[in-house]
Assembly symmetry: C2
Homo-oligomer: 251 residues x 2
DNA sequence: ACAAAAGTGTTTATTATACACCCATGT
DNA sequence: ACATGGGTGTATAATAAACACTTTTGT
């Protein structure tokens, strides 16, 4: 037992030397793509939505598809995802998080293509500002009403949604799907929609007050037929202080 | 505001039609590899260790490296990782979990290679049984004594270690690094070593009793110069029941 | 004055933390 | 008999959950 982790220094005598990289690339041709699950929050329907496009791959004509593209020679994976998003939404500086790679040999009917999945969070209002610059059919779908997608995109979507749910509880990312100024009710509705749970209003508000990452603005809602709610914004500096003091955002 | 999520059905008139996949693959040659961070727990040193090999890439001669290989044409990513592990350790059926892809253009000196990182958990005793079948230099390193590795492997290692830490708290994966029969103290030591925290012995044991995923065996430690500890094993069925009842493993 | 949602405090239950003594075995 | 680590219970603090009334605005 005491010897269990000692080192074994065998002579390196691998029967076949590793092939040259350039040879391997020729022998195993494959493509690499990124696919983005674009999440947006619909404050009217109180519903999480995702942005889909009509597939451009002949084998999936008519199917809806995630936003994806093949990776170019000189861009990183995240740059590729950002470029794809910019092309489809006109937006830059979008929250982007890698989820994982999907790579079973049969996943693309046109050849071996491994894809790296990202999820992104956008403020739908920002997207709206850009729609007239775009020339591609894109549509928001409620997360609860997604049919059969192209490729293995349903699988990818599930993974991304699960990652979003996990991350939403542990990182202050929900704000990326809300306007810069929002009410606590909007924030709560977003959490309830994404996580598919219900929070007690008073407990939710108390928790946020305790975490102390929101800035209370000297403004209120306008044009509502009831007592107008206070507006808040997410305060990055307060969040940094929270982290510095060894604490974490957690809901 | 109410219109924010309506659909925009532009005609599809993308100026450039998407290129054929096969053309793209020729124009953007790239390689895809898997890299495995192999974690093992050293019950003597009470220390998390990882298995490294001498790099076979000329540019990194002399450096230590994760266990990796280029992906073959007809294997999935996980199969590729499993094959790589089998080649280096002689073991199959190893716990394998994908972490993420790493793909900045400069990460491999020999060309564009994107790598998919996995971490794996092995019982060191199982590894020991296979060492005489292996002909490659491999060595266990304490997680706290890792120098500069080949490629971006330090970065990859950090991501894998963080994922391991997160997952260890939420899934019953620690047992994959222990012998089939273990004492509660061994389990606690493992948790403390990986998470770099200390647990109160009584609270730790109470928690595990409450979670109820262990089977108390009718055996005890042998040959110890003190009261022998009871041996336990992880009970998959109990864990399944836990999940079915809507609860979760959490430490 | 009424409708509609905003805003606020207290009580209770659950979970986490801190802590000290006796027990079984080998030498 | 003693040294060594195994095994157990209780009290306290912190956190989460449950719950109802008053306030502000527009109509």
């Amino acid at each position: 037992m005491i010897e269990q982790l000692r080192t074994f220094d065998f002579p390196i005598n691998s029967p076949k030397m590793p092939k040259k990289l350039s040879d391997h690339i020729k022998e195993v041709p494959l493509g690499l793509s990124v696919d983005c699950v674009v999440f947006g929050y619909d404050d009217i329907d109180k519903d999480l939505k995702i942005l889909l496009i009509k597939s451009e791959t002949p084998e999936f004509e008519g199917s809806w598809s995630l936003l994806g593209d093949l990776i170019q020679a000189n861009e990183s994976l995240k740059e590729s995802a950002a470029r794809t998003l910019a092309k489809r939404t006109g937006l830059s500086d979008i929250y982007l998080e890698q989820v994982r790679a999907f790579g079973i040999p049969e996943r693309h009917p046109g050849g071996r293509v491994i894809t790296i999945a990202y999820y992104s969070l956008i403020k739908v209002e920002d997207y709206e500002l850009n729609i007239d610059k775009l020339d591609l059919e894109a549509k928001w779908f409620s997360i609860n009403k997604i049919g059969k997608l192209a490729f293995d995109h349903n699988l990818i979507l599930n993974h991304c949604l699960n990652k979003l749910k996990r991350t939403l509880r542990e990182q202050p990312i929900g704000f990326s799907m809300l306007p810069d100024k929002f009410t606590l009710k909007q924030l709560q509705n977003l959490y309830e929609a994404v996580l598919d749970v219900e929070f007690d209003r008073r407990n939710f508000r108390r928790k946020l007050k305790k975490i102390d990452v929101l800035l209370e603005l000297p403004e209120t809602q306008q044009d509502v037929a009831h007592r107008p709610a206070k507006l808040y914004s997410f305060d990055k500096k307060k969040y940094q202080s929270l982290l510095k003091s060894g604490k974490h955002f957690s809901l």
